[in-house]
Symmetry: C2
Subunit: 153 residues, 2 copies
């Protein structure tokens, strides 16, 4: 109960700080390595790659953006030729689906290679098991939070 008595000491703040630092590093890397896309564009591209046939709304939930912004991100990716959007049928409903193009695949591979080095340099001090443990804890913690939110407290 001495815990989280002040904002600065709260887990909320630690999450903010860590997420903020991680995002800053990501922005820096993507800009500095001249990857030709932004972190959020890469997030969308890779998420599409991992979820073929996903619709825009579901993608929005995964990348934590609203529908409007997701549409804008997709427009940018399409303009860059990294994805194609086409009309398909889902539950007998017309839906604009999307797929990663050849160019998109290449970019994903390129990003993966270029970033691997930095992931490794983080892993120098953090073992794979430690990272794994941290991710699991975050997941468990998150589920707890989402439960609270769903209770509509």
């Amino acid at each position: 109960m001495a815990k989280a008595q002040h904002y600065i000491d709260s887990i909320y703040y630690d999450l903010e700080l860590t997420s903020h630092a991680m995002k800053a590093l990501g922005n820096h890397l993507f800009e500095h390595l001249n990857l030709g896309l932004t972190p959020v564009e890469h997030a969308a591209l890779d998420t599409i790659f991992c979820n073929t046939g996903i619709c825009q709304r579901d993608l929005a939930k995964l990348i934590l953006k609203d529908r409007a912004n997701t549409g804008r991100i997709l427009a940018s990716l399409e303009e860059k030729g990294l994805i194609t959007r086409f009309v398909d049928v889902k539950n007998n409903r017309l839906v604009r689906k999307m797929g990663v193009t050849e160019k998109g695949h290449k970019v994903l591979e390129q990003v993966r290679k270029k970033i691997e080095a930095y992931v490794k340099s983080i892993s120098v001090q953090f073992s794979e098991e430690e990272i794994d443990q941290l991710q699991q804890t975050l997941r468990k913690f998150r589920e707890n939070i989402l439960e609270l939110a769903n209770m509509k407290i």
Copy 2:
């Protein structure tokens, strides 16, 4: 090395998700409990409380906002009568310092009480030690990231 091959599996994403969920819960609570201030205003207020005599720029760094926004947040807090801003001297330089008013203290206490219950309900599934461990790990991880950023990779 199977780790973080895709965005969805990365620690980056887990941090985004968890931080996002936490922020959503915070927004929900502050709005629903009619606390009369936003989460970021509370963050600023409590940070000022914990760092008497802090200047605006240093506060900005702590609450992760830029100077402009910090100024706006402070203007709002001042308008609500939760802080006072006054000109003081720091290293023989004129600086606008700030302090928490009586009303500000009361609000902080009120928020602390009202939120305590929810912190507890989270702690039901997460022991104090687990939360503590998570915070420590996040801190260590963050320091690692900041080192990388400082290397200007």
